[in-house]
């Protein structure tokens, strides 16, 4: 769970305004933020990453305070976030592999590099310098580099805005794949709402520093081939019934009440009233009616 509560005076194209954001985010969520340029989207990401100090506020990730205006802010080095810059920010003097190795702070980080190169299809390019790569390739390197340290949060600042449509689409697929595989809490800023609708499970709109719309999206519905599809939802436990060696959870997801049965031994830490997220793999989807 991530709690973001930040305030800052900013200068926008239409004069000064006050950014005031209060957000609760479940772990593993893909949050999309859209809004006109100058609405404070990038500033919000930079404050979460620790690159910009807010005027006041709080930042708490899984119970660990990152920032409290009264106390000392955790420096960006300690926050373990991944950040994708609009200009990729690859180190021009290092090869693709060198860029990834620079990010590794431990042997286990280093062990992750070959897998990331494979996932992002960069194996053949690993000895190239960033300067010779195309924009889409550079952004894939940047994404791989951001994932080397297994960040707790991945912050994407309009990462695809400099790319043209077909490459954008492919990068979106990469982002979706990465999110499904690593379940990293992701916050992506984009001025293009349709891009966010493809990827995010929750989208907020920022206007002059305030959240004016906050919507949960139903990701993945209508997709028929499902080699690796997963259901992900969150809700509140209403009731726990014991049925032999199994327990039956009744969960209120807001839209529907869902029943889940699981072995009683695995359910010891669950109590009614708790908010939970849950995940399941889906092998088929049936379309019941076409409107």
């Amino acid at each position: 769970m991530m709690h973001v509560q930040l305030n800052k005076s900013l200068h926008g194209p239409e004069g000064d305004f006050e950014l005031a954001v209060d957000l609760q985010l479940e772990s593993g969520t893909f949050l999309g933020i859209h809004g006109a340029s100058g609405a404070g989207k990038t500033s919000l990401l930079r404050m979460i990453a620790g690159l910009m100090p807010p005027d006041s506020g709080r930042l708490e990730i899984n119970g660990v305070p990152w920032l409290e205006t009264s106390g000392k802010a955790m420096p960006p080095q300690k926050r373990n976030v991944g950040f994708l810059f609009q200009d990729y920010a690859l180190f021009p003097h290092l090869t693709v592999l060198g860029n990834l190795e620079f990010a590794a702070n431990s042997p286990s980080d280093k062990d992750r590099i070959p897998e990331l190169l494979r996932t992002m299809e960069l194996e053949k390019l690993q000895h190239s310098m960033p300067g010779v790569l195309s924009g889409g390739q550079q952004q894939r390197v940047a994404l791989a580099r951001a994932l080397v340290r297994q960040p707790r949060i991945l912050l994407l600042d309009e990462p695809l805005s400099a790319l043209d449509a077909p490459i954008r689409r492919r990068l979106q697929d990469y982002l979706g794949k990465i999110h499904r595989e690593y379940r990293t809490t992701t916050i992506m800023v984009s001025h293009d709402p349709s891009e966010l609708h493809r990827l995010a499970d929750r989208v907020v709109e920022l206007r002059a520093g305030k959240i004016v719309e906050d919507r949960a999206l139903d990701q993945g519905s209508g997709e028929i081939p499902l080699p690796k599809a997963a259901l992900k939802a969150s809700g509140r436990i209403l009731e726990i019934e014991l049925e032999g060696k199994e327990v039956l959870l009744r969960i209120d997801t807001g839209a529907q009440t869902i029943r889940i049965s699981l072995p009683a031994t695995e359910a010891k830490s669950l109590k009614p009233g708790q908010n939970i997220t849950f995940q399941a793999s889906i092998d088929t989807i049936k379309i019941l009616n076409n409107p």
Binding site: P76, Q77, V81, F83, D87, A89, L90, F91, H93, F102
Partner: protein, 223 residues
């Protein structure tokens, strides 16, 4: 042929360049980032040797460090340092005199880098010092090279400052430029020619190499 003035020139230029590098890296890093009101003052002071006659620097240096003054006396008595008419004094004055030639290229180089480069390094867990040496400096190599070479060449070409605070003590402060002046004074044109021609050739070679390397022509051969 007396090689001593030429060797002394090279020794002075090398020492000065090395000291300058150590001084200029933190100074240029601070100047390229700072928004403090003090910055303009420091920036101006660094640039002063570009416009000031070297004799002015030499004159104040002489006044500040002369053993007949309180400060100069204190340095001599307590630390045993004599900066006037000595090689260390010459190095110190040359460092001040060539400061803009080292600071400005590094400062400009650092400012030309996108801020996201350093930020990306911070986010990847690297502290400021690591970021500076492993990310920023390697990406301003041409600027660094320009600074090194220009400082070296500028120190080779020094005359006024040396004359003011070093005099012309053989082996201590009689550098090539001073030697040329003295040879001409004593109508010894042949010796003056030799020194001059060597300095001319050296300066030409140095500046040409900067242009070639930074112009990318030599990049294929020099990495």
């Amino acid at each position: 042929m007396n090689w001593e003035p030429l060797l002394l020139t090279l020794k002075l230029a090398l020492t000065t360049t090395l000291v300058l590098l150590l001084v200029s890296l933190p100074l240029a890093a601070w100047l390229s980032k700072s928004r403090s009101p003090l910055k303009s003052v420091v920036d101006t002071l660094v640039s002063m040797p570009l416009v000031l006659p070297p004799t002015v620097i030499g004159f104040y240096f002489l006044i500040a460090f002369s053993p007949s003054n309180a400060f100069g006396q204190w340095l001599d008595e307590h630390l045993g340092i004599q900066l006037v008419f000595s090689f260390p004094g010459l190095v110190l004055a040359s460092v001040l005199y060539s400061l803009p030639f080292m600071v400005h290229p590094i400062q400009a180089g650092l400012r030309s880098l996108p801020p996201s480069l350093a930020e990306a390094s911070y986010i990847l867990g690297k502290d400021r010092l690591t970021t500076f040496f492993r990310v920023l400096l390697p990406n301003i190599r041409p600027a660094l090279f320009t600074g090194l070479v220009l400082s070296f060449a500028h120190t080779v070409g020094e005359f006024g400052v040396v004359l003011m605070i070093g005099g012309s003590i053989p082996g201590v402060s009689r550098v090539a430029s001073i030697a040329i002046y003295e040879e001409v004074e004593t109508m010894n044109y042949a010796a003056a020619h030799t020194y001059s021609l060597i300095l001319f050739g050296l300066s030409f070679a140095i500046l040409l190499s900067v242009n070639l390397i930074n112009g990318g022509i030599l990049k294929r051969y020099w990495r």
